[in-house]
C-alpha cells in the first residue's frame, strides 16, 4: 500500500508545487518553456520601429504562439495531476467520498484551459497581455490552492490506513487484558487509559484535517493537523508498547 502511495504523493507534490522549476522539469520536452523562447518577444520589439505595424504583428504572433504553448503546458500539468489523483485507492469510505468530491474539479479545469486556448486566436496585442494576466490570476486563486488541497488529501488518505491499524491494535490489546483477566490490575488499567487518550487525540486531529480538506480550507493548517495526528498516533504506539510489556510481565507472574 505504502509502495503505491509514495510515488503518487511525489507526483502530486511536484504538481502541487506548480509554478516551480521541478514541475517544469517533469513535463515532457514539448512542454519546456525555455527563457530563450520568451526572449523572442523583446527580439520582435527591437527588430522594427516601435510604431510600425510589422513590429506589432510580429510581437503579437510571438505572444500568441507562446500563450498556446503555456496553456498546453498547463493542460499537461493538470493531466499529470489527475493521473496521480486517480491512482489513490483508499479503503476508507471517508477518503473515497473526498476523492469523489475533488474529481469534477479536474474536468472543469480541463474545460477552462480548452476554452482559454480557443480564445487566443482572436486576441490583439493588449488583449494577449490581459489574457496572460487573467490566466495567471485564475491559477493563483483556483489551481494552486486546489492542487495544494489535493496534495493534503493524498497524504491524509494514506494516513487512514495507519489510523485504522492503530485502532485495531489497541482494541486487540484491550481484549487480551480481558481474556487474561488483568482488568483488575491498576497499572495495566491506567496504561490502557493512557493509550486510549493518545489515540483519541490522534483521531480528533485526523477529523480536523479532513474537515479542512473537505471545505478547501487553509492547506497549511490541514498539513499541520495531519502531521500532529501522526505524532499522536506514534505516542499511542509508545503507550501500547509500555502496556504490552506490563501485560507480559503480569502473565509471567
Amino acid at each position: 500500500m505504502k509502495k503505491i502511495f509514495i510515488p503518487i504523493i511525489a507526483g502530486l507534490l511536484i504538481s502541487a508545487a506548480s509554478g516551480g522549476n521541478v514541475a517544469v522539469a517533469q513535463q515532457d520536452a514539448a512542454c519546456e518553456l525555455s527563457r530563450e523562447k520568451f526572449a523572442e518577444i523583446s527580439g520582435a520589439q527591437n527588430d522594427l520601429a516601435p510604431d510600425s505595424t510589422g513590429r506589432i504583428r510580429e510581437e503579437l504572433r510571438v505572444r500568441k504562439s507562446l500563450l498556446r504553448e503555456v496553456v498546453d503546458c498547463a493542460t499537461k500539468e493538470l493531466s499529470s495531476l489527475k493521473s496521480d489523483f486517480e491512482k489513490i485507492k483508499s479503503g476508507s469510505q471517508e477518503a473515497r467520498a473526498l476523492q469523489a468530491q475533488f474529481s469534477p474539479w479536474f474536468s472543469e479545469t480541463l474545460n477552462y484551459y480548452a476554452l482559454q486556448k480557443s480564445a487566443i486566436n482572436d486576441l490583439g496585442l493588449q488583449g494577449s497581455k490581459d489574457f496572460a494576466r487573467n490566466v495567471h490570476a485564475w491559477r493563483g486563486g483556483n489551481f494552486r490552492p486546489t492542487s495544494k488541497t489535493i496534495l493534503q488529501f493524498a497524504v491524509w488518505a494514506q494516513n487512514q490506513e495507519f489510523v485504522q491499524i492503530a485502532q485495531n491494535r489497541l482494541n486487540q490489546v484491550k481484549r487480551a487484558i480481558d481474556v487474561f483477566g488483568l482488568g483488575i490490575n491498576e497499572e495495566i488499567r491506567e496504561g490502557s487509559r493512557a493509550a486510549e487518550i493518545e489515540l483519541q487525540k490522534a483521531l480528533a486531529l485526523n477529523r480536523q484535517a479532513k474537515e479542512i480538506i473537505r471545505t478547501y480550507g487553509d492547506s497549511d493548517e490541514a498539513g499541520k493537523a495531519t502531521k500532529y495526528s501522526l505524532e499522536f498516533l506514534a505516542s499511542t504506539y509508545q503507550k501500547i508498547l509500555e502496556l504490552a510489556e506490563k501485560i507480559n510481565k503480569a502473565i509471567v507472574r
Binding site: L13, A17, L33, F38, V70, R169, R175, A244
Partner: protein, 147 residues
Amino acid sequence: MDLFKTLQQFKNIEPDKGFTRRSRNLILNRGNTFSANISRVLFGSLETGAAVALVGLLMLIILGGASHIKILEPLQITAIDPSSIRAEAEAIDIQIQLTGLNYEESAVSESTLPSAEPRSSAAAAPVAEENEKEALSIDEALKILAE
C-alpha cells in the same frame, strides 16, 4: 418286520409348526439385529465421549477459571507481542518523516521560485545569464506574457 415299519414311519416326521415359525423369524431378522447392535455401540461411544469432554471442561473451569482457556491464548499473545507493535510504530515514524519531507520540499519549491521581476542592477547580470538556460514555470511564463 416291526422294525422295518417303524423305520419307514420316520419319513413322516415333521417339526412342530410353532417351532418352524420361530426359527424362520429368527433367521430372517438376523441382519436387522446386527445393524441395531452397531447403532447401540456407536451411541454408547458417543455417550462416553461426551461424558469425558464434559468432565474435562468442568475440570478446566474448576482448576483454571474460564478466562485461562488455553485455546484463546495464541491470538491474545500475538496482540501484545512487542516486536509486532514496534514494527507498526516504526511504520508510523517513517510516515511522519515522509510527510515532513513532503512539506519541506513543497515549501522549498515555492520559496525558491525565481522572481519574474526585471533585474536592473549589474549584479543581476550573471544570474540572468544563468537563468537564460533554465526553463520557466507556467506562472513565470504567464507573468512575462502579461507585461
